[in-house]
Symmetry: C2
Subunit: 146 residues, 2 copies
């Protein structure tokens, strides 16, 4: 899905939900769809401010959360760090470098596991989704710090 298609989706969903397409909202989404990284609300805010000096941080936070609810963004949160957002809606998982903290998208297939029902006291819980996080040291850090 390229930038134009993503932007069209923003337009469609906004119409569908009776949301208004403000310049602020479009700037925020454009920044995210033009980046291939996972950005925090503050990073988006800092970038958007260059074009919109009077933009409020609250607007950025509000919009990005709303875009997640609308299915326009996926998000990835870890405690201690700010929530990260991106427009990559493909099913994917994440690799997190323990050294530099950078997050990499990884594409995993055939994720399987066996659940020990005896030890796990889940009863009849309904399991919907599983998220797998890989931790390690990224290539950059391996090269630079051994």
């Amino acid at each position: 899905m390229n930038k134009e298609e993503k932007l069209q989706k923003l337009v469609d969903i906004s119409r569908e939900k009776g949301l208004k397409l403000t310049p602020q909202r479009m700037a925020i989404f454009r920044i995210l769809s033009e980046s291939d990284k996972h950005l925090t609300a503050d990073e988006v805010y800092q970038k958007a401010r260059k074009d919109y000096p009077m933009l409020s941080a609250a607007t950025v936070y509000r919009n990005m959360e709303q875009m997640v609810s609308s299915g326009l963004l996926s998000n990835l949160g870890r405690s201690g760090a700010a929530m990260k957002y991106d427009t990559n809606l493909e099913e994917h998982h994440h690799f997190i470098c323990s050294h530099c903290g950078k997050v990499y998208d990884v594409y995993l297939s055939k994720v399987t596991y066996e659940l020990d029902m005896e030890k796990s006291r889940l009863g009849d819980a309904k399991i919907d989704v599983s998220e797998l996080y890989l931790y390690g040291v990224c290539e950059d850090c391996l090269n630079n710090y051994g």
Copy 2:
């Protein structure tokens, strides 16, 4: 590992690392080792305050983080929620109820997956650990809210 063994480990590791066994530290650890739930620093603080009215919250935060570094506690953080701690050091994963937010320990074996090296731009990254989170609706919520 029962309570006594856990407490002995606290004593051993403290000696080993030149840490002092203060009453506050022992109270904090005792509360955690007597609970079978994942507690937040504030929950531990509230419980400990009943016996130690002049205990400071900072002491609880400090100690619990220190216990993680010392290998006495495991912790589980999700953005937006306070860090949760417990004395369960067995290798385990977590099930999180999307409805009530409660966290359940689950024991998984044979966790496997296939990594798409083409799409995942990890290069020669060294992968150490994988953490699997299961999401769904817990038994309690299923019973109470359909």
